[in-house]
Amino acid sequence: MARPAPSAPIPGEPLVELPLLEGRHTDAELTHSLLYPVDRRGGRAFWALVLLALAGVGYFLVSVVVTVLVGIGAWGNNIPVAWAFGIINFVWWIGIGHAGTLISAILLLLQQKWRSSINRIAETMTLFAVMMAAMFPLLHLGRPWFFYWLAPYPSTTRTWPQFRSALTWDMAAITTYFTVSFLFWYLGLLPDLASARDAARSPRKRWWYGLACLGWRGSARHWYHWRVGYLLLAGLATPLVVSVHTLVSFDFAISQLPGWHSTIFPPYFVAGAIFSGLAMVLTLLLPARRVLRLTHVVTMAHVDALCRLLLVTGSIVAYAYLHEHFIAWYSASTFERSIYHTFRTGPFAPIFWLTVFCNVLVPQLFWSRRLRRNLVVVWVAALLVNVGMWSERFVIIAVSLTRTQLPSAWAGYSPTWVDWGLLSGSISLFLLLFLVTVKVVPPVPISETKELQRQVDEAEAFLREVEATRGGGGAR
């Protein structure tokens, strides 16, 4: 009998409609059903997707080789548009990564129970998104094999990085972020890897999982240390995730370029990052929960909560757009007013309005409960937000650069096939890594789902207790 406590929202309580777990499951059932994707061989659809992703990776490799052999001239960049697809893709990917940390760390600190079922998928997404992001500044170096020059190390050539450059800060931010995200992901994975070891049928599999879980036995001491460590990492990851995209926004905001220099950039970029990441989580989660048979643990309650968060972060982004355009006008500066006018009416105006449509109007659908529960609508909306967040970065980065303070330096911009190859190829590579990973590690945290089941039990006991008191204490 569970101790009564209001540990999780459950249907039956006032105004709670959707359950966090569908049905009551024993520990054995949960272990079995959540290891299903790992146990089973991939079907035909799986291999078809892998092949498709491999083809995209082929295009990516060709683009990378061309970039390295020819140099940045193979891209559509020019002067003054020295930053274009490379940096847009970088910001887009690193932004996507942020939702993983939000779900795994910030929602853990906020004690949101619904994070348990989806944090693994979100964190996996984060790891690969950060990897994709890191490639673009490296390629943009022109001579990527000298990437280590970005790190401050005492070399005999005395080449020190320029510490006043935001790109050096980025280097520190991204490597720290990747390290902490990886540790967080791996630490969370340990008990599940042990479950996979215990359930493995072939000795070889058992050996590999046994190695990966670092000898986890599930003793009380293990759990105690694991919990403390997990909470500490969550505490560290939270300021980190904010600082990473803040630094990304500094890349632009510390300059004096109209359209880039704006003090609202740091919080606006962080909100936008989480917004895009949530959209990517939904894009991946909706098919995954169906295909991997996870609908009993990733329920409509999760989709509903993600849609609400998408609406919240989308509203913050919409506020930032509005405020930025207002402040540009209010500043009464010719340059500021003119660049925002160019955004709205210039040669790239359709991309600006596409951004507004995707990021401001589309999330408004989620005010409606019915639409939040229509999976097709949610999936399409999430895709559109992904597109919108990419085009937002295009407007900020490339369009601002086409119109600097000197009209004689103005230029246009158009990407080349190599640019497209790097963008679509990075999406393919991301998909490939994601597909492989869900076959190797349990996509839903098994131990945390079991804990959630207990919290649901506690909440049910609490509900019964409350009803008993209400019934006994007379009508009120």
Binding site: P6, P14, L15, A253, S255, T263, Y319, I327, A332
Partner: protein, 394 residues
């Protein structure tokens, strides 16, 4: 009688005391008006901004709790509702600011010695910065805020009697739907009332800086009220260490958020060094350096270190001390935002800053306490009150 809590019937002397102190403070401030009009008006504007900010912060916090469907704050919700419901009073308290528009806001009558390009800039902003539109906007802000605050209080107190779940739905809907409007009005109010004190200066994150400051203030005030309200019929007696830990953690988060926004604004303006932006920062961090240093240490570093301690947060007395300190720091922060517009060259404290502060505060506190009388000090009919009382933290 309600099984959880009786109605709050005391506090009569407190209301009268606060009102008396408030009237005295405002009376003395009015005397200052005859002595140094401009100085006194700025002092009053600072006091108004501070106390109005607390009420507005309470409203934003309340709406956020509702929109997030948060259950644990149910037991501490009533003070937020009462605080927010004093907003109509602030519409009345805004009258002196309206009467002193010209001395306060240079854009009303640009000074004669203004360089031509600056005059041109002000002219370009005139479609927004002009007296009629300013007044229309002010009326709009107060109407929206008062309407939301009163509806939330009204529905919540009606629920005390009926326990109707439908009233919770209404409060949640109004809060969620209202938050975008509240956010926009708050942010434009910050531009109107604070940013336009120096009309050539712009910073797009300033509004966020203002309203996050009000969150810190409102939450700190809530902690102080919750820790001290332990008498008969008061909700403080229902609270345990877990509630204070949760409040303290939230306060910690807001202190960090405030510091984050403050740093970003400072750093970005400092590094870009643009002639329109940098004078505001120069006045506040170079000429007013001692105040800026106290803010960095007292509004961030010290509370950051203190609020990391779990044991401190669970102790209502210790947490209340930290919250009182933060309220003082928030006052310093507001003073530091307003007064350098008048004295950019060095920190100057005029006695009317103190009398106005006590005056507006006394009146506002009296109003909030008066509203509390005869009501329950916790939402006793809320379906989630028990969830809140039994809240468990792993």
């Amino acid at each position: 009688m309600n099984p959880v809590l009786p109605r709050f019937e005391g506090g009569q002397r407190l209301v009268l005391g606060c009102a008396a102190v408030g009237t005295l403070g405002l009376g003395l401030t009015a005397l200052g008006l005859t002595q140094n009009t401009r100085e006194t008006l700025f002092s009053y504007h600072f006091a108004f901004t501070y106390w109005m900010g607390l009420a507005l912060g309470a409203l934003l916090l309340l709406a956020t709790f509702h929109a997030a469907r948060a259950r644990w704050p149910t037991a501490v919700r009533r003070p937020l509702e009462l605080g927010a419901a004093t907003l109509p009073l602030f519409a009345l308290l805004f009258v002196p600011v309206v009467l002193g528009l010209s001395p306060l806001f240079p854009w009303v009558h640009p000074p004669a010695d203004l360089p031509p390009h600056a005059r041109e800039q002000l002219l370009a902003k005139a479609p927004y910065l002009n007296v009629p539109f300013f007044l229309v906007r002010t009326v709009l802000y107060f109407t929206v805020w008062s309407a939301v605050a009163w509806l939330l209080l009204h529905w919540s107190t009606r629920q005390d009697e009926s326990g109707d779940v439908d009233l919770t739905v209404r409060q949640r809907r109004l809060s969620a739907g209202g938050l975008p409007v509240l956010g926009l009005t708050t942010s434009f109010a910050a531009v109107d009332w604070l940013m336009s004190l120096e009309p050539r200066w712009v910073s797009s994150v300033f509004s966020a800086y203002f309203f996050i400051g009000t969150w810190v203030g409102a939450l700190a005030l809530l902690v102080v009220v919750a820790a001290s309200a332990r008498g008969a019929g008061l909700f403080g007696a229902l609270l345990g260490p877990t509630h204070f830990r949760l409040l303290g953690t939230l306060l910690f988060a807001f202190v960090c958020l405030w510091a984050y926004i403050a740093f970003c604004q400072y750093m970005l303006i400092w590094v870009a060094d643009l002639p329109e932006e940098v004078p505001w920062v120069l006045a506040r961090t170079e000429h007013w350096r001692p105040v800026a240093v106290v803010l960095v240490l007292g509004h961030f570093a010290l509370p950051f270190l203190l609020l990391l301690q779990r044991r401190l947060k669970a102790d209502r007395r210790l947490l209340a001390v930290v919250a009182l300190w933060l309220l003082a720091m928030h006052a310093l922060d507001t003073w530091w935002l307003v007064m350098p517009a008048l004295h950019p060259e060095r920190p100057t404290l005029h006695w009317t800053s103190l009398t106005a502060f006590v005056g507006v505060g006394g009146i506002a506190a009296a109003a909030a306490l008066w509203l509390a009388r005869g009501r329950y000090t916790a939402p006793v009919g809320d379906p989630f009150l028990l969830h809140s009382l039994k809240v468990k933290v792993p």
